[in-house]
Subunit: 181 residues, 2 copies
């Protein structure tokens, strides 16, 4: 009983987490998110509500955790043959995904997460894959923070706080600016 928590990940604890995540995903398909409760998740996952409260504290943190997990892309960014092309394909897909109902919900949930920094890590990892493909073939690679600040940030900002999302033309202007073109 004195084992540190980490020892248990990968075993029972990982299975419990997966069944709770999976219950949340299923409930979000069938219900308005405002109607989903911790007891509903617990019943469907076959655990007690206190298991959920102990691990996540409250429902918002659990939803944020599921949202972050969903954010991890299944596939590598598309390879188009050029740095500009790879970034553009990735950014257009990102704009498209975030500008959807699930994308907006995900952004809302992730803001409640105590580990919201994971968001930038996941995006940064995707961009790093693209940059590494072109290392040695491009004079000067932009840094990840520049790409996040100049391309990702306005996509997210406009979706959350403006009347309309970035147009593809505006997105391309931001890409040019980030790549110094």
């Amino acid at each position: 009983m004195n084992q540190p928590k980490e020892v248990r990940t990968g075993g029972r604890s990982a299975r419990v987490q997966e069944s709770i995540h999976s219950a949340v995903r299923q409930l979000l398909k069938e219900h308005e998110r405002a109607n989903v409760t911790v007891p509903m998740v617990a019943t469907l996952a076959g655990v007690t509500p206190s298991t959920i409260y102990r691990r996540w504290g409250d429902l918002n943190v659990l939803l944020a955790d599921v949202a972050l997990e969903r954010m991890r892309p299944d596939t590598e960014p598309l390879a188009t043959g050029s740095l500009r092309g790879d970034i553009q394909a990735w950014a257009e897909q990102y704009l498209d995904e975030m500008n959807s109902e699930p994308g907006r919900n995900m952004m809302r949930d992730v803001q409640s997460s105590p580990t919201k920094g994971t968001c930038v890590q996941i995006l940064g990892a995707q961009l790093r894959i693209i940059l590494e493909r072109h290392r040695g073939h491009v004079d000067q690679l932009p840094d990840i923070d520049r790409l996040l600040n100049v391309i990702v940030a306005p996509v997210v900002f406009r979706i959350l706080f403006a009347e309309a999302p970035l147009t593809l033309e505006q997105l391309n202007e931001q890409i040019d600016l980030a790549l110094g073109q």
Copy 2:
């Protein structure tokens, strides 16, 4: 009874709105926001809950409305004598304000607003005042969207989704980029 709603603004309707806004501001000082309810606001403002539901639909929209109202700055942006200086002073103050507990709450509320575009309008109006000061003295003025996308967006994005806000150094890099320097 057939008068259009607009006729009444500025009179009784404006006074009712102000007393409801003021009740919200007072309650948010005294309570956790999760504990503030429509009946509490109604009691303090001296109206019935249905007055609030009729006008705002639900508490989130009312909170968003109050947050947008608070966002309107009381004063013009500081005049430092140069375009770069004015933008920098404004951006540093904006970063500071948004990176506070009230700033974060405001951003969270505004996202629920059906008129969240007001956010970009208010920021745009402030930036326009700065640009107009320097019209004729600067070769080419940047456009407002460029300033919003390159300076404001990463400030907001990093506060909401990263481990840490932009540093002043990073903010200055964004300002240089936006001004083409």
